[in-house]
């Protein structure tokens, strides 16, 4: 009899400590959301490198009684520390910098204007978010989805609206993967056949001196002007300096391979871990996803409109299609400009020309984030 009692008490203890005893309908829905994201990442290949860890983190976050965020330090808490203290986004930027070639931008610096114009989507979404009831900090964090830059979105969200981080990160990375579907109809709607057929002049060669001095000079200039983004921009340009200096190949290789891969795993999993049922299953999440789409479309339209203006002012030297690459999403947005241009005129290769506004968009989104931080924090 005593043995039976001990057995029953033990079974009860195991049940009480198990996740099943505290499992809610919300947890179940979020695990299904995680499974859907896994399907999108690994079967449909929508940004699998980031959406994969985010999806798995989402599933992990919805197991009750794991103690992930309790008093004791554990690996999940350490990963979360990297997210909430803005450690991972600048490290991702270090790797992105080491992979980025700024030559098309240096050869034609006027394309920075397209990177600036594409930020209109950020501010359209900010206005829209405030109109539907989000406060100004939440609206700024939602708006940055339009920059199509995942690390910057996460960076700004953790500073201005950490409770919305999961929804914002999922919206940002989902729309980034959908760039080839979202942008072409807008590009065709806003440009004429003649504009799409414009063949752009070959870019001038860029010297090593320019490629080495640019990351240093731009870091000094922008970091002095907007200190809140010094970590993001500084890491981006440091990575680029590793690449361009020609004497730090090992550092460049580490930044663009091992480091960025490791940090991507942590950033994705940590972001997914913020998607617990209590924070995610709200009407606000649907609004954020809808506003993110508005931001993306607004950014694409802003870049195209400015591309048309530049086309007019340069007597047709600029193909407006490269304007849509002003939303960051490197290099996907530039590839979309290339594909739409090629469909309009076979043999018209816009890829190198579109890389200028594309990398300008990365700087533009960081500047937009820095401006909002300086103004709102």
């Amino acid at each position: 009899m005593e043995a039976l009692n001990a057995f029953i008490v033990s079974i009860q203890a195991v049940w009480n400590d198990s996740g099943f005893s505290a499992f809610t309908m919300g947890n179940g829905i979020m695990i299904l959301v995680g499974l859907l994201l896994i399907y999108m990442a690994f079967v449909k290949e929508f940004e699998p490198l980031l959406l994969g860890p985010i999806a798995f983190g989402c599933i992990l976050a919805n197991f009750p009684n794991t103690g992930f965020f309790g008093e004791e330090m554990n690996v999940m808490k350490a990963i979360n520390f990297g997210i909430t203290n803005e450690i991972f986004p600048p490290l991702i930027f270090l790797g992105i910098g080491a992979m980025t070639d700024f030559s098309p931008l240096l050869a034609r610096p006027s394309t920075l204007l397209l990177g600036a114009a594409a930020q209109i989507g950020v501010f359209v979404a900010l206005g829209g978010a405030m109109l539907v009831g989000f406060d100004v900090h939440e609206a700024a964090a939602i708006g940055i989805i339009g920059g199509a830059d995942g690390p910057t979105s996460i960076y700004l969200s953790t500073k201005l609206a950490p409770h919305l981080l999961g929804a914002i990160a999922v919206a940002a990375y989902s729309y980034m993967s959908l760039v080839p579907l979202i942008q072409p109809p807008i590009m065709k709607l806003m440009t004429t056949q003649a504009e799409r057929e414009i063949v752009m002049k070959e870019l001038r060669p860029v010297t090593k001196f320019e490629r080495v001095v640019f990351p240093i000079a731009s870091t000094i200039f922008i970091s002095l002007l907007l200190p809140p983004i010094a970590a993001l921009l500084g890491c981006l340009m440091l990575g680029n300096l590793f690449r361009e200096s020609g004497v730090t190949d090992r550092l460049s290789d580490t930044a663009q391979n091992s480091l960025i891969n490791i940090v991507t795993i942590f950033l994705g999993t940590g972001t997914g871990m913020t998607m617990n049922a209590n924070d995610f299953l709200r009407a606000d999440t649907l609004l954020i996803i809808a506003l993110g789409l508005v931001a993306f479309m607004g950014g694409t339209a802003g870049g195209l409109i400015f591309g048309k203006i530049m086309c007019r002012f340069t007597n047709g030297a600029i193909n407006p299609l490269i304007g849509s690459a002003g939303v960051s999403a490197v290099p996907m947005a530039a590839r979309v400009s290339q594909l739409v241009g090629m469909k309009s005129k076979p043999g018209n290769y816009l890829l190198m020309h579109a890389m200028g506004p594309n990398v300008a968009g990365v700087i533009g989104t960081a500047v937009a984030a820095g401006t909002m931080l300086a103004m709102l924090k």
Partner: protein
């Protein structure tokens, strides 16, 4: 340093932020132009040659590139970008898939032929 939010009017926030973004990026254009200006390694600009008067002869229309089946637009884009990166201009005339089962001698001959072009 934290300070009180200046305004909560969405329109004013939009206008201020867009203005700042444009000012910063336009300033960056001048930074890039300044770097190019002080670049001690840049090649001196070639004197512009006066253009010859237009000839009445109509230029031959550019033929569409011959793309072999199975070559995707992404591959064409990558080839084009690589050619541009090496400083060549012009239009791709044809893209053909080379038989990988070719002998090394044949590959060498093809390479030499390309080098001569």
């Amino acid at each position: 340093m934290e300070h009180a939010t200046v305004t909560t009017n969405p329109l004013i926030i939009m206008m201020i932020n867009m203005t700042v973004v444009f000012i910063v990026l336009v300033s960056l254009i001048f930074v890039i132009k300044f770097i190019h200006f002080i670049d001690p390694t840049k090649q001196p600009a070639e004197p512009e040659v006066e253009e010859a008067p237009p000839t009445p002869v109509q230029p031959a229309p550019q033929p569409a590139p011959v793309i072999e089946e199975g070559v995707s637009p992404e591959i064409i884009a990558a080839i084009s970008a690589a050619i541009t990166a090496y400083g060549f201009s012009g239009q791709i005339k044809a893209v053909r898939i080379i038989n990988h089962e070719s002998t090394p001698w044949r590959a060498s001959a093809r390479f030499n032929n390309l080098q001569r072009k």
